[in-house]
């Protein structure tokens, strides 16, 4: 199975499970969780089922294209099931079968791994899924997001696409993954890995990045004040990525680090609150159970 067949197969499978197949969000981000289809949608009472590929960036993980397993740009396949269904693990196992990984033939384990994103004010409990000793998926029940309790709780399934592909194709290096006949992962991404590694570690202009961070932080607050949740969130994402770049550049001391993280978390919380209020003003349109919908809206009025 080549790389794009893996993606298509997962899309096909989750589509059949009733997920909307969304597309990557058009801004830099560290993980699929940061796509508004996860970060914003997991807030509030409305159900939501979505799956999408997410190109993700971790500037500090760059290795100039020399390390067989580490990349500063890679792909996640993200699934959100809200509320978490009772058979969520079985659904996941079935998706592995679709990829030709028969759990009966392998050793598959769910090993405790809790997820936390201090910049997003988010955390959850779950596992890493091991396939014959290799971590291929992160599985999380979101408990909090943007500093707010998730209710209902959603299940997040994040597949490491390169890991799965190297396993299925029996390759020693991600760069050897066959993307499609005759074209490898290296053909598509190697040179940009090299270039970005140079940029992330040496080329990025620290002062410019700091200026941009400050501007984006301000803009996030200003736009949130206008009650424009998602446009404000764009600037949270920009701040987060700029912070990661500064970090890779070695421009942030340990003390400053905590400060930067708190600044991103604060605007993430403001945006999360704006989003939840907006959904409520809209009357929770995705809640098909009208009785529950009226009940929730009424509760808010009473509390408000």
């Amino acid at each position: 199975m080549n790389f794009q067949e893996i993606i298509l197969s997962l899309q096909d499978y989750w589509s059949k499970q009733g997920c909307i197949i969304q597309q990557p969000y058009d801004l830099e981000k560290g993980a699929g969780t940061m796509n508004p289809a996860t970060f914003l949608r997991c807030l509030g009472p409305e159900p939501w089922k979505v799956a999408y590929v997410e190109p993700s960036r971790r500037p500090t993980d760059g290795r100039y294209g020399e390390n067989p397993n580490r990349l500063q740009h890679y792909y996640q396949f993200q699934v959100i099931l809200k509320p978490s269904p009772d058979n969520v693990i079985e659904l996941y196992m079935e998706s592995l079968r679709q990829l030709g990984i028969d759990p009966d033939q392998h050793d598959i384990r769910l090993v405790e791994d809790n997820w936390e994103s201090p910049t997003l004010g988010a955390w959850g409990l779950g596992w890493e899924v091991w396939l014959d000793g290799m971590e291929i998926t992160q599985f999380t029940y979101f408990q909090q997001c943007g500093g707010f309790d998730c209710h209902p709780v959603c299940a997040e399934i994040t597949y490491g696409l390169e890991r799965i592909a190297t396993y299925i194709q029996n390759k020693e290096s991600v760069f050897a993954i066959e993307w499609v006949d005759g074209i490898t992962y290296a053909d598509v991404h190697h040179q940009s890995e090299v270039d970005y590694s140079h940029y992330n570690f040496h080329g990025a202009d620290v002062e410019a990045l700091i200026t941009m961070f400050n501007i984006c932080e301000q803009e996030a607050r200003r736009v949130a004040d206008l009650h424009l949740a998602q446009p404000a969130y764009d600037y949270v994402l920009k701040c987060s990525h700029l912070f990661n770049l500064l970090d890779a550049r070695g421009a942030i001391s340990v003390t400053e680090r905590t400060g930067y993280i708190a600044r991103v978390r604060n605007i993430a919380r403001i945006v999360a609150k704006e989003y939840m209020e907006q959904r409520q003003r809209l009357g929770y349109p995705l809640l098909k159970d009208d009785k529950l919908r009226q009940q929730l809206l009424q509760d808010v009025e009473v509390e408000g």
Partner: protein
Amino acid sequence: MKRDLLLEIGVEEMPSAFMAGALNDIKELAEQKLTARRIGFDQVDSLGTPRRLVLHVKGLEEKQEDAVIAARGPKKASAFDPQGNPSKAALGFARGQGIEAADLQIREVDGIEYVFAVKTELGGMTEEVLPEILLDIIHSLSFPKSMRWAYYQTRFARPVRWLLTLYGNRTVNVQIENVFSGNSSYGHRFLAPDNFVVNSIDEYFAQLRQRYVIVDHRERKNLIWEQVQETARQAGGKAMENDELLEEVCFLLEYPTAFAGRFSPSYLDVPAEVLTTSMIEHQRYFPVFDDQGRLMNAFIGVRNGTAASLDIVRAGNERVLKARLEDALFFWKEDTAKALADFVPGLHKVMFHERLGSIMDKVERLQKLAVFIGQQTGLSCPDQLERAALLCKADLLSNMVYEFPELQGIMGRYYALQSREEEEVAQAILEHYMPRFAGDELPASPTGTVLALTEKLDNLTACFAIGIRPSGSQDPYALRRQALGVVNILTETNIKTDLRLIINAACQGLVNVKTEGDVQQFTDELMDFIRQRQRGILLDKGFAFDVIDAVLALSLSDLNDIQDRVKAVQEFKATEKYEDFMVVFNRSHNLSKKWDSTAVNVEYLKDESEKALYQHLVQAQPLVSQCLQAGDYTQAMHRLAALRVELDRFFTAVMVMVEDENLKAARLGMLKTIAGLCVQVADFSKII
């Protein structure tokens, strides 16, 4: 008739680290709750796998025991009139309790008689109260971290997916959110995923086994260890004994099958600790050693399932480990490409604590303090101490320690040896973190011992100086552990030193640090904090708390001296002379408590008994002082105990508190002197 009770809580894979605690808690909760509800049982057992917590109560009585309940009413005096007829109060009480006034009983409480309504509450059927009890047990379980799922508010370690309950052959109705109890369960997630019905508890255990679940964790653990040893033997070596790893593996699977994997011998160039850490921490494999104890290029993994297609599993695991070891080899080569000392300048950029500066600032403090402690204790020499202190944090900047923080110190030693540092210096780098946990080895080399003390006392002093104190379960800087380390190093290696002097030196080293509060005050607090850890250690060693407290009351700053005194007093307490000594102390101490002066004007002494006592005292005083100087506390106490004869005579012959102020002063002065000598060993007023 007695019947067994079974509860199986089916969960999504529990964190392995929670299982031992959860199994212990569920057993204790069951024992408590059943006892509280007066339901007898023979035995409670708990078993578990990642997917199930199982409670098995053997021989549960089918009926609660009857209970006799006595409710107290008014006093007897106001409950009956003089003719013995019940008063309004008594009638009202009886009515309230639902009994006849004639049935009221009289009982005495603290010397006062009251009327009591004594009723027998008949025990109900166990079956009727079981739902409530089981629900209570489930809801009472708590975990280090728990979660919600879907729309529900219940918190549990992981989502609850099924509940099996059997009392004898019947189901007990329990509901957790959308899960209703029943008489069915599930086998192994992949090998026997279907729901199956269980008609009896015996059948439950038999069925699970057929369905690839070894539910008894003790049996599973033994089985795993047997398989691991056997597989290692077949691979030509011995598996590492590691109970923590074994326990974790046990709670990561339901049906174990061990297999041996190999890796390229070329990775054996990397220090063994790196390879074993990677195998254990990342992959949960058992490393394998040969007859000489050398690490082999093999590992033992344990799969959750049968031996079917084991080759695929082995190949996959070998591949994963290869990638891990490749990383480790890369780090080793990168790190050893330069000398360990070359990492040191980088420590300027690493923050130790925002108020305590960089790690380099800390290293500079360590260098000075280590030399001072070396001088105080007569261990090691300034050159080695300075060098070891300079290098001890350098490995924090190595790739390997970044990847495996638990290898700090261990890598420092290897890199020091690679950089041709002295063996003693390299060893000290490793040892300065010791003891790393309760029961860990203590540093053995002189330089390592001094540096270990330096590291801990710098941390303790610096944290206390900026107002950080452990409170309750909060101890983010592990100050308790470090204070315990200080006590253990000093007392186990018998280093006599004045800890207060060292802490003072550590305080002086805190240049450019904004301290909180008065130096004297936080030094006192720190000394107390360390002595409190020593108190715990001494209690664990079996010394009596009152003896320990008596010695600690002296606020001494040589921990070995404290231990010597505690030993001496405890041993002396078991001898015949102890009684004499305590008579001497109590009689002299009680009367002279409020007297300040030890001055004795001999001219005023007139009775023969007091003159004799004075003579003995004058003779004993320098001898006792000598003993105290020499640390011979036993002899000091013997000499003081010997004063009893004269002291008893004195008390028989004279009154101390006479009107003649001069005479009284002389007598009290003698008593004060005696008591003062006693409390130089320990504050005996604390001894019960």
